[in-house]
């Protein structure tokens, strides 16, 4: 067996297995967890066992992804169904890391809510596997399979709290609307196939250029429907209506997972599809531009009107999807780097915020209002500090990763001539101060309503570690973003359209030579 990591021939079984090692490891882990919980699913210990097995599986997959990344794995030869590039592996790391942090937070949450549902972890693993397939898909069919694998697991996870009516409502709504959106996505795939006679992303890009399909109606409708499908998954306005209700009703760790990993996976897939297949089609720029503006404005404005923390964070995650869309709309290498960096920063801050919320909320967590945090700084100074850092980072205050990410999105937007979009982003961020800062104000400037106001707030050892790591990461990347930014730059540049064959086509903007 001789392996050349820089040129994996995906038509050979052995090379293909290596290229898919992270996904295979995770599949194996998911099956093991499923088998184990078939026997053991009654007590807290069973939940813990499943959780640790899950972490082991995530670790193995993470190692595999790292190994491929470290060896600079690349695919050679004819386009296959799965991509082997930095973008996929870095995105894998993001999903696996998010899943691991979610598992750690879930231990405390499941124990407190007395949810003895160890299948929870198996579903989490399947959802993560789906995401990895989405980010690595080199073919619209693989992409769709990954998306459905992720979505179906999530429909169940949203309703995993069987005693909760709101959980059931969330799961049903998510399922109905998700199925609806999947239909559009699938129809979009069909139309694109109809126009180009292929589902391979790179080949679509080649076909578009060689056949001159930039203005083909069938292709454009297909592209529009694809954007609708992705827009639903990232909760872009006007396809966002499900998000607040579903986020609100789901168990809080799952909400955090949905707000971060799911969004990241959909963005990763969207990014790859636009970059590899539709780089030569100018039509999507305007659509993404409008989606970004609508998402930023509506997300931020409606977040202002929220009274409970969970719904506020739900709308805030919609607003952040808008910022990420700005990075996508630039369509440049700098935009790609900013996009990946912001994805990491956003994941860290949102995950930590939801972990803290999960700790604060007892059974009635849907009703944690911002005023309920009054005086938290006196009673629980460290938790208050962590939440304050998350809020400042979400708002984009210098010294935090949120600022650096937003800054690079702004730089990328202005550099690509999207000055107006950058200006709207800044104004939308100003509005967001109107709902992030009251949280800090409540914690630090208002007295505790009663001595027992925060007695129920418990964050276990693992949860504390997760929050501490996330906050430390936010502050670290806020001061020294260089390394992460380099990785983001290289990974973002690894997604590119196939070389243009026809000469009358403007060069694809995503091509920007960079090397590790």
């Amino acid at each position: 067996m001789n392996l050349d990591f820089q040129a994996l021939d995906l038509s050979r079984t052995c090379d293909l297995l290596v290229a898919l090692a992270p996904e295979l490891a995770l599949t194996l882990a998911a099956l093991v967890v499923l088998l184990v919980v078939a026997w053991r699913h009654r007590t807290l210990e069973d939940v813990r066992l499943a959780g640790w097995l899950t972490l082991a599986g995530l670790g193995a997959a993470g190692f595999a992804a790292w190994f491929l990344w470290w060896n600079g794995a690349r695919a050679a030869g004819i386009p296959a169904m799965i991509a082997v590039d930095d973008f996929r592996l870095v995105a894998d790391w993001l999903f696996l890391g998010t899943a691991a942090l979610t598992v750690l937070v879930s231990f405390d949450y499941l124990a407190r809510e007395e949810l003895w549902v160890p299948e929870y972890f198996a579903l989490l693993l399947f959802a993560t596997l789906g995401m990895m397939l989405m980010a690595g898909a080199e073919d619209l069919m693989v992409l769709f399979l990954g998306l459905e694998l992720m979505s179906i697991a999530l429909y169940v996870l949203a309703g995993s709290s069987r005693r909760s009516a709101s959980g059931a409502e969330a799961a049903l709504k998510y399922f109905l609307l998700g199925a609806f959106a999947s239909g559009f996505l699938l129809y979009g795939i069909a139309l694109v196939y109809g126009a180009t006679a292929t589902t391979n992303l790179t080949l679509i890009g080649v076909q578009v250029v060689t056949l001159g399909l930039q203005h083909s109606t069938m292709l454009l409708i297909g592209l529009g429907l694809l954007l609708v499908g992705f827009g639903f998954k990232v909760a872009a306005v006007p396809f966002h209506m499900w998000a607040p209700d579903v986020y609100d009703g789901s168990p809080t760790p799952i909400t955090g997972y949905m707000a971060t990993a799911v969004k990241a996976a959909a963005f990763a897939a969207l990014f790859r599809v636009l970059g590899e297949s539709f780089a030569a089609v100018p039509a999507w720029h305007a659509i993404v531009w409008w989606l970004a503006v609508a998402t930023m404005v509506v997300g931020n404005l409606v977040a202002l009107a929220q009274r409970t923390l969970k719904r506020m964070l739900a709308y805030s995650s919609i607003a952040h999807a808008g910022y990420l869309l700005v990075a996508v709309a630039t369509g440049t290498g700098a935009g790609a780097a900013a996009f990946l960096f912001y994805l990491v920063a956003y994941t860290l801050m949102t995950l930590a915020a939801f972990a803290l919320l999960a700790a604060k909320g007892t059974n009635g967590e849907r009703d944690v209002r911002i005023d309920d945090l009054a005086g938290l700084a006196q009673r629980r100074p460290w938790l208050a500090l962590a939440l304050a850092v998350c809020m400042l980072s979400l708002l984009g205050i210098p010294g935090t990763a949120g600022f650096i990410g937003k800054w690079y999105i702004l730089v990328a937007a202005t550099a690509s001539g999207q000055g107006l979009l950058a200006a709207i982003l800044v104004l939308a961020s100003v509005i967001s101060a109107g709902y992030y800062l009251p949280v800090i104000m409540a914690m630090y400037m208002q007295p505790e309503p009663s001595a027992e106001a925060h007695a129920g707030m418990r964050l276990g050892r693992l949860g504390s570690a997760v929050v501490a790591a996330a906050v430390a990461g936010l502050l670290f990347f806020g001061v020294r973003p260089n390394r992460l930014l380099d990785i983001a730059r290289v990974s973002g540049a690894s997604v590119r359209a196939a070389p243009a064959v026809s000469s009358d086509v403007t060069p694809a903007p995503l091509r920007e030579p960079t090397g590790r």
Binding site: K173, L176, L177, F180, A181, F184, T217, L220, I221, L223, G224, L225, L227, V228, G231, F232, P238, F239, M241, W242, P244, D245, A283, W284, A286, I287, W290, L291, V298, L301, V302, A303, L304, A305, Q306, I431, G434
Partner: protein, 659 residues
């Protein structure tokens, strides 16, 4: 290896910073640990001084024509602007570093005695260490922004130390005045930086000065604007007309602070800046003429005020302003070495004068404290005949007085003479400088006069302190007089640094600085005076100084003075001088009050409260909330409605795609 030694240049500023951190921590948690505080505070300075000497020794071995720039890390890479955290070591920084650490170390030692009984002992040393750190950043920075960090940092420390005894309103006000007046100058500095960046595309000294001759046409508008704005910054930091009014008030701080910050180091930063930017000033004759003219005018103007001050420290403060004027006359004339030479000798004798006055005030304060009297310990009318009680201080201060008056062979004679000689020489080509020279000579006469007056009233004649207080007057401890002795020696022999060729010396400092000023020197006309003319000038200057001293001795009658509380009010011209030409009052009426009115009535009550707060801030917030509320009404929770909206979105997106 000298070069590797210079790579560790960061140690020099890092030591005082370390001292600040440690003393700052002690000030917060162990304010009574006086031994630890003084050990740390003095040790970091002595070590920094040693490191500086080592660095200069290593550098002197190389004596490169180009400055050594040591880049530590990338600081601000934004677009075309690249600012690194980098230090620069050249002949000019070497001189400044030695002055700052050397005089700084002596004053730190003196402070151990002077501040011994103060409750804020640790805080004091923390601030003083921090000041030295920023001052070193100022003179070592390799770019305008790094220098500006030091420039602002010393301003901050100056503010903190002027208002060190902040429980008295007058001290806090003096600190604020210094800070605010300096801000005006700093705006000038900032604008100059922007202009420099626009013209040359860099803010690092090397590229800026290297490109200057190509970018700027000689005597062009842009280089003149840059030099004038830079000089505005200098007038603030170095207390020149029109921004000098803060320095006399700054005397509210502890006396060693006045010696270190407001005489020897910080206030000379402006002179350093002009010398550093010599290429720019050489390109702008108008800028140079302004520097020289303002310097000469300030030298004369401040000297007249010093004639009638009674507070011993205020006399010295106006004297400092006046001497700084000389330095600007020097650098404005193009005699950069002479200006820097005067900066160095002035650091010696003015630090000595301030520390000597500190020793006097220390003694007076103790005497009044012992008898619980509330008389002014700084008013010369309450002193007199102190030489019997403070013999060391009196003798050493006489040395400094003769030095500042310009009596050979003390240090001040050489440096002042060189500036006046350069001004006169340029005056043969450009007559304006003859006027400057005449003003300088007049100021020299007044300097000799008011300094002799200070000495006579303080140390001679009968004692007016009070009968009970008299027995408590005594010389300060050795930890205070020791630094005085060292400074006294330096004041005597400092002239050897740059003994002019006319008198058989080697003009060492001038040759040392030649690599720094080489570019500028080539752009200026060379005017040579005959030896006979030079000797005449020297003789004239000595004569003027002697005249001032003798005049003061003959005209003033210390035995006729009465203590401050019995003294009659001043009248006529004397009152005008005593009230400092009413400059503060004029500024107050013309600038401060109208600006305050504008700020309060128009900017605050109308624009800020009504327009900004009312309409823009609260109005936009209310509007945003209303829109948000409307948006949240759409969130009905009904899936059917969501689907309907979804379909609208689909139509919009597909429509957009087909357009």
């Amino acid at each position: 290896m000298p070069t590797s030694l210079l790579g560790a240049l960061w140690v020099v500023p890092a030591l005082p910073l370390l001292g600040f951190l440690m003393n700052g921590a002690l000030a917060l948690w162990r304010p009574q640990a006086r031994t630890a505080v003084s050990t740390i505070g003095v040790a970091v300075l002595v070590l920094a001084c040693g490191a500086a000497v080592a660095a200069v020794a290593g550098f002197a071995g190389l004596h490169p024509a180009a400055p050594l720039v040591i880049r530590y890390w990338e600081w601000m890479p934004v677009g075309d602007l690249r600012v690194d955290f980098a230090l620069q070591f050249d002949q000019l920084s070497a001189v400044m570093v030695l002055v700052v650490t050397g005089v700084g170390a002596l004053i730190h030692v003196f402070s151990v005695g002077y501040m011994q009984a103060d409750a804020g002992y640790a805080r004091y040393f923390a601030y003083l260490n921090l000041f030295v750190f920023f001052m070193l950043m100022l003179v070592l920075g390799a770019s305008f922004p790094v220098m500006f960090v030091g420039w602002e940092g010393v301003g901050l420390c100056s503010y903190l130390l002027i208002g060190f005894w902040f429980n008295e309103q007058i001290n806090a006000d003096a600190g604020k005045k210094a800070f605010i007046v300096n801000r005006i100058g700093d705006v000038g500095f900032l604008i100059a930086m922007f202009l420099i960046f626009r013209a040359t595309g860099s803010l690092d000294f090397g590229p800026v000065f290297g490109r200057a001759a190509m970018v700027f046409p000689p005597a062009g508008a842009s280089v003149t604007a840059i030099t004038l704005f830079l000089f505005l910054g200098c007038t603030g930091k170095s207390a020149q007309i029109p921004l000098f009014t803060w320095l006399p008030d700054a005397m509210q701080g502890p006396t060693p602070v006045s010696a270190l910050i407001h005489a020897a180091t910080m206030v000379t930063a402006g002179v350093y800046l002009v010398a550093r930017c010599n290429v720019l000033f050489a390109l702008s004759p108008l800028g140079s003429a302004t520097v020289a003219g303002v310097g000469a005018l300030t030298a004369l103007f401040a000297a007249t005020i010093a004639l009638k001050q009674w507070d011993i420290k205020r006399v010295l403060a106006y004297s400092t302003i006046s001497q700084l004027g000389y330095m600007f006359l020097g650098v404005g004339t193009g005699a950069y070495a002479a200006g820097i030479f005067h900066l160095v000798t002035h650091a010696f004798f003015k630090a000595l004068l301030f520390l000597g006055s500190g020793s006097v005030i220390h003694a007076m304060h103790h005497a009044y404290h012992a008898t619980h009297a509330h008389d002014d310990a700084q008013d010369m009318r309450n002193m007199g005949g102190l030489r019997r009680y403070l013999p060391w201080t009196a003798a050493l201060m006489w040395i400094a007085t003769l030095a500042i008056a310009g009596i050979p062979p003390l240090s001040g004679f050489f440096s002042k003479d060189e500036i006046l000689g350069a001004a006169f020489a340029l005056g043969t080509a450009e007559p304006a400088w003859l006027v400057y020279w005449a003003m300088g000579i007049a100021a020299a006469l007044l300097t000799a006069f008011y300094m002799t007056r200070l000495m006579l009233y303080t140390f001679h004649g009968p004692n007016r302190t009070g009968d009970k207080e008299r027995e408590h007057l005594h010389e300060a401890p050795w930890v205070m007089t020791g630094p005085l002795v060292v400074l006294g020696v330096l004041s005597v022999v400092g002239g050897a640094l740059n003994l002019p060729e006319l008198m058989g010396g080697g003009a060492a400092l001038q040759h040392w600085l030649e690599p720094v000023t080489a570019l500028a020197d080539r752009m200026r006309p060379v005017v040579e005076l005959s030896h006979a003319m030079e000797w005449t000038l020297v003789g004239g200057a000595v004569l003027v100084a002697a005249l001032g001293i003798v005049g003061a001795v003959r005209l003033l009658h210390p035995e006729a003075l009465v203590p401050a509380r019995l003294a009659p009010p001043e009248t006529g011209l004397e009152r005008l001088l005593w009230k400092k030409w009413y400059v503060d009052e004029i500024y107050d009426a013309v600038m401060v009050r109208p600006v305050q009115w504008l700020a309060r009535e128009v900017l605050w009550k109308t624009i800020d409260l009504r327009l900004v707060d009312g309409l823009l801030v609260n109005g936009s917030a209310t509007a945003s909330r209303a829109l948000g509320w409307l948006g949240s009404r759409l969130q009905t929770g009904e899936v059917g409605f969501y689907v309907a909206l979804f379909v609208v979105g689909v139509l919009l997106v597909v429509g957009g795609a087909m357009r």
